[in-house]
């Protein structure tokens, strides 16, 4: 079953000062079947985050439609949980209250809320940090809380916008494996935006490659690496190496050509 369907998305920015129109997204279409982990990658400034923001309902597209389980979406909603690059945890709420916030807005009772939040806290490995405030946690732990906050409300799809870009390289590897571990348990549909080719290949069932601006879908690759996956044997995995090379070439990383244009405001 198709969970998310992005159809002929088009986005034009008009500079309010110069009046100049910039086509950020020319024509982007792709589907995400239920339970699949799909990454969107592309050179910087290609509009991949804009695609995610449109799916999330934060930004209105100039043209095209986004459908979730067949019905068009407009505006943000709890059916599409978002994990942010800057974590976006509420600084004035404890870890537990952050994770329970979505349940609270849905009118879930206090006892049930607490039980569910605790379940999520245990799932992401934050046991013992329930009463801490976000600033007391490391970047990696904050993003664990960010993932738990989204999973608590059991959204139809989890949207992740370069979720590991704000943490150090080692923590990133750990979080990638952690998120996969959690995902393998729950099989929530995921749309994952990243500029990191290794990350995209490691995590995903499919990788959608966007062209430089104005963006179109340049390739849509299926990744047949068996799960569970782990970084320890990934660099010797022939499938990983092959797809990684293909993507690197496509994005011009290995030839040293910078295909990205400057990012839009």
């Amino acid at each position: 079953m198709t969970m998310l369907s992005v159809d002929q998305l088009n986005q034009v920015y008009v500079d309010t000062y110069t009046g100049e129109a910039t086509v950020a997204i020319e024509d982007v279409s792709f589907d995400v079947p239920e339970g699949q982990f799909v990454s969107v990658i592309g050179p910087s400034g290609c509009g991949k985050t804009t695609v995610l923001n449109i799916v999330a309902g934060f930004v209105d597209a100039t043209g095209g439609t986004v459908r979730l389980q067949g019905s068009p979406v407009s505006g943000p909603g709890p059916d599409r949980g978002v994990v942010f690059q800057d974590f976006a945890l509420f600084p004035w709420k404890t870890v537990e209250a952050n994770i329970a916030f979505g349940l609270k807005t849905q009118g879930v009772g206090k006892v049930e809320r607490r039980a569910k939040a605790q379940e999520m806290i245990d799932l992401v490995g934050l046991t013992g940090f329930e009463k801490k405030y976000p600033h007391e946690l490391s970047g990696g732990m904050r993003q664990r809380a960010g993932v738990a906050r989204v999973l608590a409300t059991e959204p139809a799809i989890m949207l992740m916008d370069e979720p590991f870009a704000s943490v150090d390289a080692q923590t990133r590897r750990v979080l990638q494996q952690e998120v996969l571990r959690i995902w393998e348990q729950r099989r929530t549909t995921v749309l994952f935006v990243t500029h990191d080719v290794d990350e995209a290949v490691f995590m995903s069932d499919r990788v959608v490659v966007l062209s430089p601006r104005p963006s179109t879908v340049r390739a849509d690759l299926s990744i047949q690496i068996p799960r569970p996956r782990s970084w320890t044997d990934m660099h010797t995995n022939t499938e990983f190496v092959r797809i990684r090379r293909e993507l690197m070439t496509m994005l011009g990383v290995e030839t040293g050509v910078e295909t990205g244009s400057r990012s839009a405001p």
Partner: protein, 267 residues
């Protein structure tokens, strides 16, 4: 952690010492300079004269009632300003339409806030408490509204997006996102506003009443009682500092500083 906890009382004592020392120096200069330059009491009172004025006023009971009257007016006026101004400012921050409409009026009113309203306040409300409270309210209101609005504007986009995508209603956004998000600015607004409140109070008491510290301050001029004038000025300064330390600083410590990595030791 334990090191920090052990250091805390000592750090606090040091910060208190730093806070008190300029006043101690000022007092010493005052004690020495008045007799040394033979300054007449009509120009500037000596420290012992101010002290005895304090003892006189305190023992005959008038001082306590003046202090309580003035404090009551500041609390009433500032309290109403916070209760009305914070929601109004938050709503302005939340709605582009509201802020577009009210922003020019707010800007126009900045120079007029407080004291300029005394003539109308006395015409509308007569002489007495109500007029003074109105002026205090008016002086505080704009600082509160402006800073509350600013607080909403400075709340990060991703926090707002996160709350919306988690299904927060407007009402919940107001209480759980905009209000706490704007709190650092609201505290700043309250601090600025309370300064305006005391200035407004003094001016209004001079004109509109026959009680309070401002009134006593001005009345003393007629009898050349510079000791009472200085005493009132010192008392107002101290009351303001006490309000700041007893109400605003703890509020800030319990909220803003608890939520953020930066823990500033306030002077």
């Amino acid at each position: 952690m334990t090191v920090v906890e052990k250091l805390r009382p000592r750090a606090r004592a040091a910060s208190t010492a730093w806070f008190v020392s300029p006043f101690a120096v000022l007092l010493a200069v005052w004690l020495i300079a008045i007799p040394a330059f033979d300054v007449s009491a009509r120009t500037f009172p000596s420290a012992p004269a101010v002290w005895s004025a304090f003892v006189d006023l305190a023992t005959d009971g008038d001082l306590t009632s003046h202090v309580l009257t003035s404090l009551g007016r500041v609390f009433a006026g500032a309290g109403i300003a916070v209760v009305v101004g914070v929601p109004f400012g938050l709503l302005m921050g939340m709605s582009a339409g509201l802020s577009a409409f009210f922003a020019p009026l707010l800007r126009f009113s900045v120079a007029l806030a407080g004291i300029a309203w005394i003539p109308l306040a006395t015409l509308w409300l007569g002489y007495g408490n109500n007029a003074v409270v109105f002026v205090v309210f008016n002086a505080v209101f704009f600082a509160i509204v402006y800073n509350s609005m600013l607080g909403v504007r400075q709340t990060s986009t991703s926090l707002l997006r996160a709350a919306r995508s988690l299904g927060a209603s407007r009402w919940r956004m107001f209480w759980e996102i905009y209000l706490p998000g704007a709190l650092p600015n609201i505290v700043t607004g309250a601090r600025v506003g309370l300064g305006f409140a005391w200035r407004g109070l003094i001016a209004a008491e001079i004109i509109a009443t026959s009680t309070g510290l401002g009134y006593t301050l001005f009345l003393a001029r007629q009898y050349y009682e510079t000791d009472v004038i200085i005493l009132m000025m010192i008392l107002i300064g101290i009351l303001w500092l006490i309000m700041d330390r007893l109400i605003l600083a703890p509020l800030e410590r319990r909220t803003v500083q608890r939520w953020s990595a930066e823990r500033r030791e306030r002077a």
